[in-house]
């Protein structure tokens, strides 16, 4: 195994593009190192991104949003007052990943690139309409977060391509987001179901909404039908029941060791309503 320590994303991309075997990028390492030790993935080239300038920074963007470096840990996100105020749903999703020790290392970009449909930080990013800045042999491009996963354990990124930063849009006024997951325990578990809701209010009515669901399909789902179910409503009982029905209808879960398909279909409807109520309150709406 070759260990590389590039000092720019372009250099990292060049190393990856030239590598022939199994290549992994190392940021927090909470997936890569575990897989390495378990013998499930043994990279031929391991490219450490932590020494590229700026990768541990959270910086405001010109548009009023945030640019999050690829080596920013969950603990760093939780300590950042501005980010927590703007995007509490994104932050709480990331904060659910692993233990306190894991939080000191794990990153949003790593959670996204691991390609799991149960990734706790991804539904919140998708609901927030977050984008990623990608560096590759052909230069830079920007993609929506929901377009990155290709299926379990896979992404759409081409050989030599890597994520350089995660970009959250401006929060703006009267907005709120929330993420909830279901696990049978209280922590140290993988989502059986996840649901994120991001919305903006006009008066007491939902003016904009994005709903993302985790662990109910091979990929994390952005569900416009679920968002439509609450648009224009004050998130009343009928809106919530339409939201639950839309989420359940969109889910395409499997039965596995973590839960049954039937359970996931039902509970995704429950969680999406609970998350919507929290987001609604965070946006300044009255409790529903």
């Amino acid at each position: 195994m070759n260990y590389h320590r590039p000092t720019s994303f372009e250099q990292a991309s060049a190393i990856a593009a030239a590598a022939a075997g199994v290549t992994r990028f190392l940021a927090g390492g909470t997936d890569v190192l575990v897989q390495l030790r378990a013998g499930t993935v043994t990279p031929d080239d391991l490219i450490d991104l932590k020494h590229i300038p700026g990768v541990k920074e959270i910086a405001p963007t010109a548009e009023g949003g945030w640019r999050i470096g690829v080596a920013v840990s969950g603990a760093d996100l939780g300590r950042h007052a501005g980010l927590c105020a703007d995007w509490p749903g994104v932050v709480e999703g990331m904060r659910l990943v692993g233990s306190i020790q894991v939080q000191g290392r794990a990153t949003l970009a790593g959670n996204l690139c691991n390609g799991s449909a149960a990734a706790d930080s991804v539904p919140g990013l998708v609901a927030a309409a977050a984008r990623v800045s990608v560096v590759g042999p052909q230069g830079r491009r920007e993609l929506a977060v929901e377009d990155i996963p290709a299926g379990p354990g896979r992404t759409v990124l081409a050989p030599g391509e890597l994520i350089a930063a995660i970009i959250l849009p401006a929060r703006g006024a009267r907005g709120g987001d929330a993420y909830l997951r279901f696990i049978p325990r209280t922590e140290m578990d993988i989502a059986v179901v996840g649901a994120a809701v991001n919305l903006r209010l006009d008066g007491d009515r939902v003016a904009e909404a994005r709903v993302a669901l985790g662990a109910v399909a091979p990929r994390i789902l952005l569900v416009p039908e679920a968002a439509d179910a609450i648009l224009g409503t004050p998130l009343d009982a009928s809106a919530l029941s339409a939201l639950a029905a839309a989420a359940t209808a969109a889910a395409r879960p499997i039965t596995d060791r973590r839960g049954t398909a039937e359970f996931r279909r039902e509970v995704v409807g429950v969680l999406v309503c609970r998350a919507a109520r929290i987001a609604y309150q965070r946006a300044g709406g009255a409790a529903t």
């Binding site: 378990a38 049978p184 325990r185 039937e262 359970f263 429950v270």
Partner: protein
């Protein structure tokens, strides 16, 4: 704490610092994997990926060609001709003709580094012929199930029985028909429990060395160094006394470390590698796939009860699997514990042991008792609800007491179930109001406790401090409890006693720390050893004073002249006697060995309050109460720790833990990520009440407290969920998908 006040003590019942505390919090304690030796090699094990497969060929040539690989062993390197449990142990150590479960060891490799050994293990080529498999206990007992080990059944099984039925146990007493006829309510139900693992935090680990001369040493994480010695010697065909086994500090065992799994492989590899020591440390996945969880069970229970709540008759039929070996399931213990709490006029037990393609079950904290309690205590609760009777009052009415003929045969001596139930009734938790979707569950439990082969030595130091050598590894605070009992007996400070868990060369045979026996049996032998030392010290003082030894008493850590001589000489302290002993007759020690009798059973009652989320089926434990008879709590903090630990493991078993097998017979959740033991934040602080009904068979009244605590939680949780939801779950775990499915099934009529 419902303390026994009939005796007063200086130290017993106090809570001094644990003797191993500093070592453990500073990382200085040496666990199984911490031992190193010069020239050490590292081992790795090749395991079957199939649930059931004939081994056609093993080719290790590529592994052996790898630089740094020093030895490969297969079954061909072990002696043949073993029988009975020795054969079972050998077959489980390394598969012979057939791999019997996913994870069954097939070969082992030793190399100069762990990574190299793991690489080499991947290069060992094994050709398999996949055979049909069965993992579920009810499927395994079917007449058309794939036969796992034809001819393995013992004499108790009638010919023409299903192929995997290998052992049948049948006992009881009283007139069953008359008993059921006398009942106002007779109910019969079937209950199922899934296999669970002890989940000790320290994986199996050992360092073994064995020379061509048959002399060997082993450092190992175990509950019983003499069991390791005997079992390794049998599997490898060496002499027991030539193998010296030293136990490490132990990161949990719960019964799972009373037997061998990979330990003989370290020795076999060492022997083949010219006697170089070989270290073997299991990964968590290996622990889950290839050490011994408990069995799984399918159980029918029939109870008869009068309108007033008196049990008139009971009939239980338990089907259990413990993997592919006869005698590995805990079905016998389960039957004996099933109705042990009650006075039952007529009772019949039938046990059916079934083979399955799963790992060989090992002991897990009160083996069999939690499953049995789940079945019996659940049905008892159902009948109490049907008859609108208070569950504690019904248990009090039927409670076994001194003189009761136990359901499993013997007549009880002094036991404390009635006192335990009474202490439960008056606990404040029982009068706390419950909210919507909340429910309270009650259940009782029992464990025999155990005496067993025990050998202890004690020696007085030159400064009057005392060392105690015991053979029972400390898995729950026994070093502190033994130091307290010895210090109490000798009349010296707790801090002046050091209790050492010693290697096999230092004492006679000791059974492991199992059966909740260490504080009872090693404690009893240590107290007897202290009394011998006291007698010797009194003789030394008498000789110095020139008086008759009978005229000397031992008081407050010193020899004191008594009777006519009282006051004639100043007390001679243990320190003074110790300082002079070289010139007064030599070292002073005490030693006691016994197969300890006088065991006293321990009964417990648990009360749990839960809330069930009606939208997700998730159960939250709101509060939890353990009330249990300790006989006497030597170190109450450790007793409380045992009560809480038993409850915590039981809660996990009840709610989420299970072995999940795929259709291919492979274990789907061999890591803690998906084997869902409770984490700290899942549990409330567990309330405890120590009841003390002293055991007359122990000098300080000890009963043993380690195991009873895991027995009531399974039914207590089921009873609480029934109270919260009105739904009776008869299959564990009561995970959210199962609870939600039951809620939906009811809603859909």
């Amino acid at each position: 704490m419902a303390k026994d006040e009939t005796a007063t003590f200086r130290l017993i019942g106090t809570r001094p610092d644990r003797p191993d505390g500093l070592d453990k919090v500073t990382g200085r304690a040496r666990y199984g994997a911490d031992v190193q030796a010069p020239g050490m090699l590292h081992g790795a094990v090749v395991r079957s990926p199939h649930a059931h497969a004939r081994i056609l060929r093993i080719d290790a040539s590529k592994a052996l060609a790898l630089d740094g690989v020093k030895a490969v062993v297969t079954r061909a390197d072990l002696p043949s001709g073993l029988t009975g449990e020795d054969w079972n142990l050998q077959e489980n150590t390394l598969a012979g003709e057939v791999a019997l479960y996913d994870g069954h060891a097939v070969a082992a490799v030793a190399a100069t580094s762990k990574l190299r050994a793991q690489d080499a293990a991947r290069l060992v080529e094994v050709e398999y012929e996949i055979l049909p498999h069965v993992t579920d206990v009810d499927e395994a007992i079917r007449p058309d199930a794939p036969a796992i080990r034809p001819g393995a059944a013992d004499h108790s099984v009638p010919t023409g029985s299903p192929p995997n039925l290998v052992r049948q146990i049948d006992f009881g007493h009283g007139d069953l028909e008359a008993g059921f006829a006398a009942a106002d309510l007779v109910r019969e139900q079937t209950y199922r429990t899934e296999a669970t693992h002890q989940g000790y935090i320290e994986p199996q680990a050992c360092l073994g060395q064995l020379g061509a001369d048959g002399k060997g040493e082993m450092w190992v994480c175990t509950q019983g160094q003499w069991y390791i010695r005997r079992m390794c010697a049998a599997v490898l065909g060496i002499e027991a006394a030539q193998l010296r086994v030293t136990p490490s500090e132990i990161g949990g065992g719960f019964g799972g470390k009373t037997t061998i799994f990979m330990e003989p492989l370290a020795l076999a590899l060492s022997r083949k590698a010219g006697g170089r020591p070989v270290k073997l440390v299991m990964s968590r996945a290996e622990v889950m796939r290839a050490t011994g969880p408990t069995g799984s069970a399918s159980m029918d229970v029939k109870l008869g009860m009068t309108a007033e709540g008196m049990i008139t008759a009971a009939k239980v039929t338990f089907r259990m699997q413990g993997g592919p070996f006869v005698g590995a399931s805990p079905v016998g213990e389960a039957l004996s514990c099933a109705l042990a709490c009650y006075t039952v006029p007529a009772v019949h037990h039938l046990g059916l042991e079934v083979l399955a393609n799963r790992p060989k079950a090992a002991a897990y904290r009160a083996p069999g008792a939690p499953m049995a309690a789940f079945a019996v205590e659940s049905l008892l609760d159902e009948m109490c609800r049907e008859l609108q009777l208070d569950p504690i009052e019904v248990r009090l009415k039927n409670a076994a007491h001194e003189g009761t003929k136990a359901s499993y045969g013997p007549t009880y001596k002094r036991i404390g179930l009635v006192e335990t139930l009474q202490a439960t009734k008056t606990h404040p938790n029982l009068s706390l109001p419950l909210g919507p979707n909340q429910g309270r569950g009650v259940a009782a439990g029992f464990w025999f406790n155990h005496g067993g082969e025990t050998s202890v030595s004690l020696a007085i130091g030159e400064d009057g401090t005392v060392q105690v050598s015991i053979g029972t590894p400390d898995i729950g605070g026994s070093r502190a409890s033994l130091a307290l009992m010895v210090a109490e007996t000798l009349g010296i400070p707790y801090e002046n006693v050091r209790v050492n868990v010693v290697e096999t060369g230092a004492l006679g045979v000791n059974e492991p720390t199992h059966g909740s026996r260490a504080t009872f049996a090693s404690g009893k032998a240590a107290v007897e050893s202290a009394r011998q030392a006291i007698a010797q010290m009194c003789r030394r003082a008498a000789a110095a004073w020139g008086i008759d030894p009978d005229a000397v008493e031992w008081r407050d850590g010193a020899a004191v002249p008594s009777g006519d001589n009282a006051g004639k000489f100043p007390p001679m302290t243990i320190a003074e006697i110790g300082a002079a002993m070289g010139s007064t007759g030599g070292p002073i020690s005490g030693h006691h060995e016994t197969t300890a009798g006088g065991v006293g059973a321990s009964f417990g009652v648990h009360v749990v309050d839960v809330e069930v989320d009606p939208e997700t089926g998730r159960t939250t434990v709101l509060r939890y109460l353990v009330v249990q008879d300790a006989g006497r709590a030597i170190h109450p903090a450790y007793v409380e720790g045992q009560y809480q630990g038993g409850a915590a493991q039981g809660i996990g078993w009840a709610l989420n833990e299970e072995y999940v097998y795929g259709a291919d017979g492979r274990l789907q959740n061999p890591l803690f990520l998906d084997y869902r033991m409770p984490v700290a934040s899942d549990l409330p602080m567990i309330d405890t009440v120590i009841v003390e009904v002293p055991n007359p068979g122990h000098p300080y009244g000890v009963r043993g407290v380690g195991e009873t605590g895991i027995t009531p939680p399974l039914p207590a949780l089921a009873n609480a969920i029934a109270a919260a939801t009105g739904l009776r779950l008869r299959s564990l775990p009561m995970s959210p998908p199962k609870v939600l499915a039951a809620l939906r099934a009811r809603a859909n009529g």
